[in-house]
Structure formats: structure tokens, C-alpha cells
Symmetry: C2
Subunit: 416 residues, 2 copies
């Protein structure tokens, strides 16, 4: 059985071979052309987006989802601003990662090269199309975009604009393609197009990611859950504990780096813990605590076992007591998702223990788990966060969108 | 349905957490203990190996395969020597891969950490058990070994020795485990133990690798084919062309880095090409050429289209004519396996074109494809060669058996 996406895959592979050799100036010129075209065609984009919204309303889509789908001038400005951020980042392609000179004179260079073809599967938010395509472009990768059927008109016009900009910069249009129709079956076809697609990046909710992981024959960069913990140690600074925990939970509750569970060292539960809980309640958070802590405040609810390991993505937090940093790490290994976890302490030994023992992709000391973001961790931009162990772990930025090739320079060496 | 290997997986995970924190001295002490025990128990090992061989002979196993299965004093010496090589390599764990200090004062360290648990699936050769386990040990990873049912007695006693050595060095025995029985169905169980196993490394023939890739729910480090090309350019040095090509094909014909196809620039087919072909014939190689080259030597056979992209793993080579380095790269992209390919030329521009355009994991200029080996490329030792694009590409050495963790050092930072 032939895969219906075979022609798209083949075209992407060919385009990727050319794009892989484009220099930074050429790729930045394409990003420039995209930004200019988005501005010039703003009215057309908003018309297409209105069509999607009208259909979504007719289909009875929820208001929150329609909001994610909607574009306006301000959102287009944000998309254009992120293009300029990506433009300013150093070209990740061609970096010399390592050089070895062997006793026989062979010089072995390990060079960063693009991965090849990236499949991006996303849901309603049409800005992902531009954002992800721009990151792929800058890292020399071709991409195949599959937006949700709800954003079909928006993603179609955005893809057209992106492709025209590639052509303007002298780069192959097929380095950015979309699926030929919003048919859901084509997602399955994309996930089995392993002959041409090197990595799949799902950008959306948990059910999308779960489906992609289950069905994909291609490696996936993704995280399923962001079950982040903040552990307040016996020797935590009280002011830091309050400020960091409230930020980690409440700054934005819907992102994967939001803390979902607060671990309190047993000895400070009634002191620092009490203040932290009071601050969370004051900030409008529902706080679910073990029975022994219920007397601290009348607004507290009792935690159930199922609250631990739960990703609320809402102003709700579960609280648990642990004996020490060892207990905290054990708890996180039982209930966490190897995403992002933090310790708050002034005790260097406890901090060291935590950072070296916890199995999270991102481990923080005295800082908010909401820093779990490529930009915040110095990568400039990210296409997502990955909790797999291999290749890209933590934020997936431009460097993670490259792989390497060994280039061996000889002068006639043969192997004895 | 519970996976019958759940207890083994759980034990491996626990052991991996402890082994991840062992320092170089402790891991090297364990490697020392293994070497000593292999020497001390040599007689027992050979007795167990004899049992396997007796059964294999009873089952009518081919002589070549029995040879791969057989151990003797010399082979045990080689195993012990490779332990000492691994011992001398730098500890790949704890390397600081990157440090970023953000404007807000956050210090972000990217640290090398072990991957976790590695499943090794191999066939007859019992030395793989020691070799692979030693590489996993040095890189802080627990491993689960699955040898072929033919080597059951050998692998069992070797695993016992490895485990005892771990205990002697104060490390958890369960960092090295084997499957409880040679039952083939357990291979399937191992390949779906994704809750506990992070990577699978198949070590064996093509059918084993193909099965592992097909069935595994876990990322696999492997190559299916080593369809390596050597391209002789118009401006090749004739002496280098002869020496490198004969070495690339004939040094060992059964390894994945052996050249399977010789590409000749059309203009030198009758000159340098003729000499190279004569040298190959003289070395005992069967040479299959396009019709137009048949007059060069009576011993030549005509190549069929199916000879291109063929992994002979034997003293047979296919020869094709190409117009130039572009044609060579195109040919390799059509028929190669993204493993190892070489150009022979004195023309720097052609060499640059080849190295930057060819999509092989290892690309060589004026050197034999038989250098496709972790040791030869400066990695000290390798657990295999990978042709996947992600994480480990090319030789899989100790560094490739690690992943990374972001460790963020703050002083109370919250995200605005």
C-alpha cells in the first residue's frame, strides 16, 4: 500500500537537501520575506481566519478554543516579533562540534547538520504554523505542517505566504508544505511516512500527543505531562519560598512548567509551609493538603491520593509532606513526569543532592519551575519541550533541530 | 496484561539510579574485578561454552556460526584486553556540556548524565555480553542482556561473573541482568518494556536488527545496512585510489564499513579505474561492472541493476560509472544506507562538495571506509554504529550512551 503522502515526503526530502546547504544570510532573508508578507497580507489572513471562526462557531466550539484559533493584529504582531527573534539567533548548522586528530593523521570533524524533514502536528492555534516553520527554516530543515481541521483556512493562507517567501529568497518552496486536506486519516499517513520524515513534533493537548506517540513510526519530540514539583526544604529562605512557589503555580497555570505539587519538609510545614499556603490561597489557588495540615486554614481541602501525579493546569495545587530531600526525590520519581522540578533551600548539600539525583529534564534550585522554556533557558526560541531521554531533552531549540555528521579528512590512510 | 519482565525492569531502574552517581574510580574498580574474575574462572567459562557448542553441534549449526559462539583462552584474553581499554577512557558522566548565565542571574548548566537502562539483544557471540555490559557500566547505565538461546550457558556464567564483580566494587548487582530464560517471546517483552528501558541496542545480523526495529516500542540504536561506497574522482591520486579501494573492500569483507560499491568518474574508468579493478581482481574480489567496462578484463562479470544498493558482505563489489561528484552523491543517495561513504580525489572542491552534500553518518576523503568504527574515529570503544538521525549517529561510544540534564542555579528568581 502506498502512502498517500509519498509525493509530499519526496518533495520535502529534495527541498531539505537544498535547504541544508543554504547559508545564514539566505535563511534570514527568507525570514525577512515572511515578516514582510505577513504584514502586507494581514487583511487576507484575517479574512481567512474569520472563515475558520465562523465555521467553529457553527460547530459549537467552546469559547476558550475559539480564542486559541483567533488571529488579530496584535497576535500577528507577536508572530512577526518572534520571527525577528529567530532571525537574530546564530545559525545552528555547520557548527564544529568536535575535532579529533588520530595518530595515523586522520582528522575527524563532527559537524552539525540539519536533521532533514520535520513533521509538525498542531491543533487550533494558527501561529504555530509560522513559528514552527520559521524554526525549521533557520535550522535548515524542511517541514510538513498539519494544523487542526478547525484552522484549515488560516493555515492554508499562512503556508502560501511562507512558501512564497521561500521562493523570494531563492529557496525551495517545498521546504514548507502542508497536508493536502484536513482529513484526519492523513495524520496517520504522516506518522508512518518514515521513509521521508525524520522527526514528528506534536504541538497541542495531551490527547494529540498521546495519539502521536502511540501511532508514530517516527521519533517524536514531545512531553505528555508536565507534572512539576516544587520542594521546600527545611533550610529554605521563607521569602524565596513564598515568592517562588506562588510564581511557579500561579503565574500561568495552563503551561507545562506550572508547578502542580508542593512538597514540604515536615519540619517547616507549620512555619514556612503555612506562609506559602496562605499566599497561594490569597492568590486564588485551591490548595489540597494532607489531613494533618487541614487545621492551618479553613479554606484548605483534603488531598486524595489521586491528586499526586495530577496535572491540574488550573489554579489547584496538591501538597505533600516529606522527611527530607531524599524523600522529596523519591516522591518526584514516583509521581513526576521527568519534566521540571525545583528545590528551595539555602542548604548547598541538599540542593546538590536534589540536582544530581532527581531524574527531571530540568532541575532547578531556588527558581520558579515556570522557567521551563527554551527562551528562558537561553535557547532563544523553542519548538517545544521534550521529556524523552534521547537527542532533545528539555527545551527543543535550534541546536536540537540539528544532528551531526562525521567528516573524515585523510591523505590516503588505509586500515591495518 | 503485565509484562513478564516488569520485575527485571524495575530492578534495573533502581540499580541505574545508584550507578548513575558512581564515580569513575568505583566503576573502574568494577571493571578491574570483572577482568580478574574472568581470568580466575576461565576454566568454568570454557566448560559452559563447551555445553553450548555441544548443543549447537547436535542441532546442526553451521561451522561459521559455531565459530562465532566458541570461546577459548585467546578470545578471553581479547575480552579482558578490551575491558582495560574501556577502563582507560574518560568517564563520560558529569561532563559540563554547556553553561549559560542569563541576564536575570540564572545559571544554566547542561550536564551529561547516563541514559538509564539499556537493553542489549545479541546473537551467538558471547563476548558481546561482557563488552556491552562494560560500556554500559562505564557510562553509568544499567543493562539487560539477551543473548541468543545458543549461547545460553556461556552468557549465564558471564553474567554471574559480571554481577559478582559489581557487588565486589560496592555497586548494585542489578545494574547487569540477563533475561530469565532463552524463550524467544521474552525478546518481544523486552522490546515493549518502555516503562523501564530507555534504549535498545541490537548486536547481530540484519534479520535480528530488522525484527528489533519493527517490534520495538523503545528507541533503537542500530544500522540495518552498511551499503558503503567509494567514489574515485577524475582527479584522484592513482596510488591512493588503488590502496584505499582494495583496503575498503577486502581488509574484512564481513563488516558494515566494507565498501560494497565502487563509483568511477567516467573519465578515469579506463585508466585509474582499470588499475583499481585489476588490483581488486588480484586480491580475489569478484568485480561486477557495467557492460562498457567488460573489455577491461576477462575476469569481470556484468553488473545487474540489483547489484547496486546490495550489501554483499563478501569479496564481491559492484562498479558504476558517474559523470562527476554530483552524480556520485546522487547515486549514493539513491542506493546507499546513510552509513559510510568515501571520495578519493586531490581536488579540494570536489572533496568539499562530497563531504557537505552526501547524507552519510560518516563521510571520508582519501581514506578507507573500513575506518567506520568507534575506536578508529577516536571514541576508544563502541557499542555499535547507528544510522538513525537522532542522538547517536555513526559510532555509538561512551558519550553517546549519555544524555543530559539542565541544572538551573537560582537565587530566588521568579518569571515575570
Amino acid at each position: 500500500m502506498t502512502n498517500p503522502l509519498e509525493p509530499i515526503g519526496m518533495a520535502a526530502r529534495k527541498a531539505a537537501e537544498i535547504l541544508a546547504l543554504a547559508d545564514a544570510a539566505q535563511k534570514n532573508a527568507a525570514l525577512d520575506a515572511i515578516a514582510r508578507a505577513l504584514r502586507a497580507r494581514q487583511a487576507d489572513i484575517l479574512v481567512a481566519n474569520k472563515k475558520d471562526i465562523a465555521e467553529a462557531e457553527k460547530n459549537g466550539m467552546e469559547a476558550a478554543q475559539i480564542d486559541r484559533l483567533a488571529l488579530d493584529e496584535k497576535r500577528l504582531d507577536a508572530i512577526i516579533a518572534s520571527l525577528s527573534t529567530i532571525q537574530k539567533l546564530p545559525d545552528p548548522v555547520g557548527r564544529l562540534l568536535d575535532t579529533v586528530i588520530r595518530p595515523n593523521g586522520l582528522k575527524i570533524e563532527k559537524c552539525a547538520v540539519p536533521i532533514g524533514v520535520i513533521g509538525i502536528i498542531f491543533e487550533a492555534r494558527p501561529n504555530v504554523a509560522v513559528d514552527a516553520a520559521a524554526l525549521c527554516l533557520k535550522s535548515g530543515n524542511a517541514c510538513i505542517l498539519r494544523g487542526g481541521s478547525d484552522s484549515w483556512h488560516s493555515v492554508s493562507i499562512l503556508t502560501d505566504i511562507l512558501r512564497a517567501a521561500l521562493a523570494e529568497a531563492g529557496l525551495p518552496q517545498d521546504a514548507i508544505q502542508k497536508l493536502p486536506s484536513p482529513d484526519r486519516a492523513l495524520v496517520g499517513a504522516l506518522l508512518t511516512l518514515d521513509k521521508y520524515v525524520d522527526v514528528i513534533v506534536p504541538r497541542g493537548g495531551k490527547s494529540l500527543t498521546a495519539r502521536v506517540r502511540e501511532e508514530s513510526r517516527i521519533p517524536v519530540f514531545s512531553h505528555l505531562d508536565g507534572i512539576c514539583h516544587t520542594y521546600i526544604d527545611a533550610r529554605a529562605d521563607p521569602a524565596k519560598a513564598v515568592a517562588i512557589t506562588v510564581n511557579a503555580k500561579m503565574r500561568r497555570t495552563s503551561i507545562c512548567g506550572a508547578t502542580e505539587c508542593l512538597l514540604l519538609h515536615r519540619n517547616i510545614a507549620g512555619s514556612i509551609g503555612k506562609d506559602v499556603i496562605a499566599a497561594l490561597l490569597k492568590a486564588g489557588c485551591e490548595v489540597r493538603v494532607p489531613k494533618s495540615l487541614l487545621p492551618l486554614d479553613r479554606a484548605l481541602k483534603e488531598a486524595k491520593e489521586s491528586d499526586y501525579g495530577q496535572e491540574f493546569l488550573a489554579p489547584v495545587i496538591a501538597v505533600a509532606l516529606v522527611d527530607d530531600v531524599r524523600g522529596a526525590v523519591d516522591f518526584i520519581h514516583r509521581h513526576g513526569s521527568q519534566h521540571t522540578d525545583a528545590i528551595i533551600t539555602e542548604d548547598k548539600a541538599a540542593a546538590d543532592y536534589f540536582l544530581t539525583h532527581v531524574n527531571s529534564a530540568i532541575a532547578l534550585h531556588n527558581a520558579s519551575t515556570q522557567f521551563a522554556d527554551g527562551g528562558e533557558l537561553g535557547k532563544g526560541a523553542e519548538i517545544g519541550i521534550a521529556t524523552g531521554k534521547l537527542h532533545a531533552r528539555g527545551p527543543v531549540g535550534l541546536e536540537e533541530l540539528t544532528t551531526h555528521q562525521y567528516r573524515v579528512h585523510g591523505s590516503g590512510q588505509i586500515r591495518p
